[in-house]
Symmetry: C2
Subunit: 343 residues, 2 copies
DNA sequence: CTGTTAGCGCTTTCAG
DNA sequence: CTGAAAGCGCTAACAG
């Protein structure tokens, strides 16, 4: 019953056209030096017979997959889905397909994903690292084989791997500086565990701005958690119970900042009068919370596009070694009412 | 320079162990009837030599790819990224990988994605259709070859394709009924163009509820747009300019509903007193807007998991024909202040 | 339990 | 400009 009809191969169309398979294979690509006419006949026959090239055979032979792997901490955030959307666009236009894995912030799962992608022989890898990744040993197989690995957002310094990210130090500095200019004297920073560059950089920017504004940094001004909404609620409780409350808080993402604001408001704390709050990412919720949230805007979609473009550039130019560099994308401090104490 | 070291094959490890390639191949899988000891030796040698199976060769031979394709309208919404996250989880645990394409609401791009997935010989397809898809001719190649195609959320009736979605009629009915119970007499409905089942069903539920509550339906109560935030702003302007304004609005997604609310509020309209507003999806923003938005909650993550599980069930059982059925997932009306007129 | 053999469908020299 | 032939790495009969 329902016999899955046999696959149509280049041999079938070769036979029909009295050509060799080799010629058909060439005709199907834009191989130089093939009669324009036979090429046309081949294309027509292929269309008519419902031919669809078998990528396995092709990949096996040519040792290229036209597949690009992406590994991200989590898929379900607005930022990350913007990134992926941008990548998908660029990559598809260039004739590649995307395969996607999420690490759920675990190195183990990151490594598992990497193995799967390796055995799928991806032509390149786009990676944003999980919180608890401290070594990239699991990516060495790619690097050894000169399969380009490009880090974006949560990056890692490696001489063969381009990094694409924003200037997190500067962003952290700017937002803290802004809080200081609004009159904040005691500015807290809420962030993720800091081994990872993005968060470490934002923290350093924050500290530098404190120093430049003559404000002291003490350990109790620093809170580390997973930046989830839940963590935002807990942060707010923590703040409410502090002996000496801050008058400004810089949270390293918007979801957490917003949850924190909501909880602070419920506790009767006025924002920004009592405590000014700033976030990071410019998530859509930043414009829905009241007062609207001051934050750092940077474009996930653009980051995805750029990362994909860099990768494809490497693929097309077929470099033996990757050019090593960092690409710093634009960001912008967006001031909204959640921090406007004066004016 | 930097000679990409030669690929290690089962032959290499066969030679080293004085075995045949076939045995090695078997040892690497959990093939029944292979000496536990040789299997152990094979596994060890493989690990030691840094062997990584070549999926192309394997796929070419076995005619299975262990790849599952997903095509969605857009990646960048909370709902969709939840769905994908759920799928990724299930699919990975079952040893498959996900390749992803987005149609950007265009049939052309949907078809292009489908072709790419076909030539990547996906083992199955998970699809949520674009707005302007009215025929699924571009998916026929899969169906003809008994490659399972499963629709979720934006589904399509086809005797060979399971559908996974919520009861949109019921949800539309419930939300409208709720508005009526709050005393609304003139309830608008804002939705996407209605050929697609989800929206058609919600519309029909809405109409049924109007009828059951003795409320008249007129064409001016219905507004069709793309349900973006921008469309929400326009909707609000439209409402403000209506000769006879509604006292309740049921918008078919939260992003649009929230933007609409914000704009109405700016125009001095009180929510819910003047106009009650309800959304759909239970996006995080629903709990951030003030007053909080009444909406329909249903779980994207769960929908992704279920869709993936159904697909994998089909794959594992190797049905010649797909069992045909619809799977209706739970939803829930979540009442919040944006519609609480009485209480 | 293990080996032999024969391809999967395509690309790529090397010859014409 | 086209053809012949070889083989990418693996798996699936079929034997033993």
């Amino acid at each position: 019953m329902n016999q899955p009809d046999k696959e149509i191969t280049i041999y079938d169309i070769a036979k029909k056209l009295n050509l060799s398979a080799a010629t058909v294979s060439r005709g199907l690509k834009d191989h130089p030096g093939i009669n324009i006419n036979t090429k046309k006949r081949i294309l027509e026959a292929a269309a008519e017979m419902g031919y669809s090239s078998n990528s396995f055979a092709s990949n096996l032979r040519s040792k290229r997959s036209n597949i690009i792997g992406v590994i991200v901490p989590r898929l379900n955030s607005i930022f990350m889905s913007d990134v992926i959307a941008g990548m998908e666009q660029v990559v598809n236009d260039a004739g590649y397909t995307l395969i996607i894995g999420q690490s759920l912030e675990s190195v183990q799962k990151e490594a598992k994903n990497a193995r799967a992608m390796f055995s799928n022989r991806v032509d390149g890898l786009l990676v944003s690292l999980s919180y608890d990744t401290t070594s990239i040993a699991h990516l060495e197989p790619f690097i050894k084989r000169n399969i380009p690995v490009i880090f974006f957002d949560r990056v890692f310094e490696h001489k063969q791997c381009p990094n694409i990210h924003i200037d997190n130090f500067k962003a952290g500095y700017e937002i803290t500086q802004h809080l200081a200019q609004q009159g904040c004297k005691r500015i807290m920073h809420v962030s993720a565990p800091h081994q990872k560059h993005v968060y470490a950089d934002r923290l350093n920017g924050y500290k530098a701005a404190l120093a430049d504004n003559g404000l002291a940094f003490t350990d109790e001004l620093l809170l580390a958690n997973d930046l989830s909404a839940k963590a935002g609620v807990e942060t707010a409780h923590h703040i409410v119970n502090m002996a000496e409350r801050p008058d400004g808080v810089f949270v390293s993402n918007d979801a957490c900042a917003v949850a924190c604001m909501q909880t602070l408001k419920k506790a009767g704390i006025k924002i920004p009068e009592d405590i000014a709050v700033a976030g990071f990412n410019n998530d859509p919720i930043a414009c829905v919370i009241e007062p609207n949230l001051t934050t750092i805007d940077y474009k996930g979609y653009e980051m995805g596009e750029v990362a994909a473009r860099v990768l494809i550039g490497h693929l097309v130019n077929n470099y033996d070694l990757l050019l090593t560099h960092s690409l710093i994308l634009r960001h912008e401090l967006v001031v909204r009412d959640s921090t406007r104490k004066i004016n």
